[in-house]
């Protein structure tokens, strides 16, 4: 009887050791929690959260080093979804952070000198152009991060709010008078 117990305990120990070693040896590079958080972040890559992009912010949240209400493009809705994922209470956006309407950058083609500085700043390579050639922003790919504005030496980039069109229009939340039940 005793030997049986010892054998079982021995097997348990060995297997446990193997598992422990395997978990170190074959550690998955990407933390699944970071991936999940990153999937909620809007990928504007604007750095307003204080981190150089969405992924670093996601990593900081996962490590417990950053609060969940630091991303203005994600808005209240984004905070709510992060709170749901992490099982914490939602809260309003951080002090001084406010979501802006979705905009895209536009280059004034009369003024652009083709210096390529904005291309280097754009986190998603949404600007096409070569040295000394007029640069153009691909509106579909622009996230509206505004990072290309400060580097431009001739201030020829401005943001334009994306207008609602027939294709992107949404039905409004129905507002109807509700009769008070006396």
């Amino acid at each position: 009887m005793l030997s049986a117990i010892l054998v079982m305990a021995g097997i348990g120990l060995v297997l446990g050791a193997v598992l422990g070693w395997a978990s170190i040896k074959y550690r998955v590079e990407d933390d699944p929690l970071v991936e999940k958080i990153d999937a909620i972040l809007p990928q504007t890559q604007c750095g307003q959260c204080g981190f150089p992009g969405c992924k670093p912010y996601a990593e900081a949240i996962a490590r417990g080093e950053a609060d969940i209400n630091k991303c203005p493009p994600g808005g209240e809705d984004g905070v709510k979804r992060l709170a749901e994922l992490l099982g914490v209470d939602p809260k309003p956006l951080g002090e001084g952070l406010e979501p802006k309407p979705k905009s895209v950058a536009v280059i004034d083609d009369n003024t652009c000198i083709g210096c390529t500085l904005c291309i280097q700043a754009c986190p998603v390579d949404a600007i096409v152009g070569a040295a000394k050639q007029l640069h153009v922003i691909v509106a579909d790919q622009c996230t509206g991060c505004e990072l290309c504005l400060p580097p431009c030496p001739v201030d020829c980039i401005h943001m334009e709010v994306v207008k609602e069109g027939v294709a992107t229009w949404k039905w409004r939340y129905p507002v109807h008078a509700i009769r008070r039940v006396a």
Partner: protein, 553 residues
């Protein structure tokens, strides 16, 4: 030989009001001085404009080409001159403007040469492309491009159903079309059948249209069966009609093609006849004008006709009218602007009055009576979906098969608490679509950001490699030159770059100066004189400024 018909669950019996508009033959609208052709006539991609302001066009000339897969062409409704290609009000629940081609008629109504297609000889793929370029889209309300639905590949369609149910109250355009143009409709059906390879053709018509049933039965030989189906809203729903006629149930989230059935509206069959047999692009459609107007009836209207003109042709709205409804009372929406043109999607225009369309009553809380669920033809639980849509918990409402809702309005119709359930479902659906769009945008941005990081990393490595090579080279040279010439302190390359940037800055500054006042070119002499005077005054003011001062002390 009577077919065994099934009945779907639910459905309602709203008052028909069909007799208001179905007594008179279809009337032709006179030629108008101006048309506004919307480039977006249906879901999917809008057409790409092929004309610009100043161009002259002929009737039937393609003015917008199909762009992307779910798209069809649009054509000039008459001959004349293009005044503009610009945003204009369109009949859409949003009331937003969309791109339209504005055409001023020359009064001649000259047409391009229409070329009938030898459809029996053409191969199906070529025929489909022609049908797309002729602008064919479903006229039943959903306005899906027809050429896509006429693709039989892999679908295994054995039954073609022609939808003549016209179950929405007030609307009678299909009724009149079937009564008056049955033979032409059947010619269109023959083309459809040829393209789909369907064995059986069923024409379903609600039994409140005996004249239409008689007309089609008289015209049909044995190529199709005309079936009278009991009047019950929404019999005209594709899935519902399929079930009634064939007993086949369309799976959740699927289409009728999944069960071997393709459904077309009778109006589409007629348009297909005109397109293929006569070679004429889709230029007009039959529109019911009914309700509180002087002469309600059906009108053959060129696409692009402003609503104002159509109402005028119908004798104008009677006193006491309270607005217009596009489509029927169950699924239609309020027209925001009467300047909007008729599009392929507009089958009916109802002028409302207080007696038939009273102000919506105040809504009460849901009492969970289940009436909406019993009325739902899609076997959904509207009160559950409503509960979550109202709380903006879209995931939950989706889990109740929100996307199987056909927005028929039966639930709203029966709700004793007058809750506008469909409005909530439309709201929830469009929110979910937007999230889907945002997610796609975010995925694209993430991928592009990651690629940029990868690219920078690669470039850095390459640069480091080059630098190492250069350093080694320099060292070798230095060693060879030993105590040779004097070293320049600054890097000549950097100097050169700086100079280029400086020059470019200067150029840009000049360009900005010369370009900014764009509205001062090509001015009439009078205005130029005025400007010169103002400039002179300004110059004077500048000189005197320091003297007059502007400090209040």
């Amino acid at each position: 030989m009577s077919r065994k018909l099934l009945t779907f669950n639910g459905g309602v019996h709203p008052e028909g009001h069909k007799d208001v508009s179905n007594a008179t033959p279809i009337r032709l609208m006179p030629l108008l001085p101006r048309y506004l052709v919307a480039l977006r006539q249906h879901i999917g991609g809008p057409a790409r404009a092929l004309v610009q302001a100043g161009d002259t066009v002929l009737r039937g000339q393609m003015i917008g080409a199909a762009e992307g897969y779910v798209s069809t062409a649009v054509h000039a409704p008459t001959s004349g001159r293009v005044l503009a290609v610009a945003p204009h009000e369109v009949p859409h629940p949003s009331g937003l403007a969309d791109l339209c081609v504005v055409i001023e008629s020359d009064g001649l109504d000259q047409a391009i040469e229409f070329q009938p297609l030898d459809w029996q000889a053409l191969n199906p793929s070529a025929l489909r492309n022609r049908i797309r370029d002729l602008g064919l889209a479903g006229l039943g309300g959903a306005v899906f491009p027809s050429f896509i639905k006429l693709n039989p590949e892999g679908a295994g369609i054995d039954t073609l159903i022609l939808n003549g149910a016209e179950c929405e109250p007030w609307i009678t355009c299909d009724d009149r079309l079937m009564r008056e143009r049955a033979a032409e409709i059947l010619q269109g059906v023959a083309v459809m059948r040829h393209m789909l390879g369907a064995r059986e053709v069923l024409i379903g018509i609600e039994d409140n249209k005996p004249e239409a049933i008689a007309a089609l039965r008289a015209a049909v030989a044995n190529e199709a069966e005309v079936v009278a189906v009991p009047t019950l809203y929404p019999t005209g729903g594709g899935k519902q009609l399929t079930y009634i006629l064939t007993g086949r149930e369309t799976p959740t989230g699927g289409r009728s093609t999944d069960v071997g059935v393709q459904v077309f509206n009778v109006g589409t069959a007629y348009a297909l006849y005109r397109a293929v047999v006569l070679g004429e692009p889709m230029l007009s459609r039959v529109v019911t004008v009914t309700g509180h107007v002087a002469t309600p009836g059906n009108y053959e209207v060129r696409l692009g006709t402003p609503v104002t003109d159509l109402l005028a042709a119908a004798g104008g709205a009677l006193p006491g009218a309270t607005g217009e409804l596009v489509g029927g009372p169950m699924m239609g929406f309020d027209l925001e602007d009467r300047a909007s043109p008729i599009t392929k999607a507009v089958n009916c225009l109802i002028v409302k009055d207080r007696a038939h369309f009273p102000a919506s009553p105040l809504i009460l809380p849901c009492i969970r009576c289940g009436a909406c669920a019993r009325a739902c033809p899609a076997d959904l639980q509207p009160f559950e979906m409503y509960w979550f849509a109202r709380a903006k918990d879209f995931g939950k409402s989706q889990s109740y098969d929100l996307f199987d809702c056909i927005e028929c309005g039966c639930c709203t119709y029966v709700c004793p608490s007058h809750i506008p359930l469909v409005d909530f479902f439309r709201f929830a659906k469009s929110e979910i679509w937007e999230r889907e769009r945002h997610k796609q945008d975010a995925d694209q941005a993430r991928a592009r950001h990651e690629f940029k990081a990868f690219r920078l990393e690669r470039e850095k490595r390459e640069k480091a490699g080059k630098l190492a090579a250069k350093v080694a080279e320099n060292k070798a040279r230095d060693a060879a030159a030993a105590l040779g010439g004097a070293e320049t302190a600054s890097d000549p390359e950097a100097e050169h770059k700086k100079a280029i940037l400086q020059a470019a800055l200067e150029r840009a500054k000049k360009a900005k100066e010369s370009v900014t006042p764009q509205n001062t070119e090509n001015l009439p002499p009078a205005v130029e004189k005025q400007i010169a005077e103002i400039e002179a005054r300004r110059a004077g003011a500048e000189i005197t400024q320091p003297e007059t001062g502007n400090s209040p002390s």
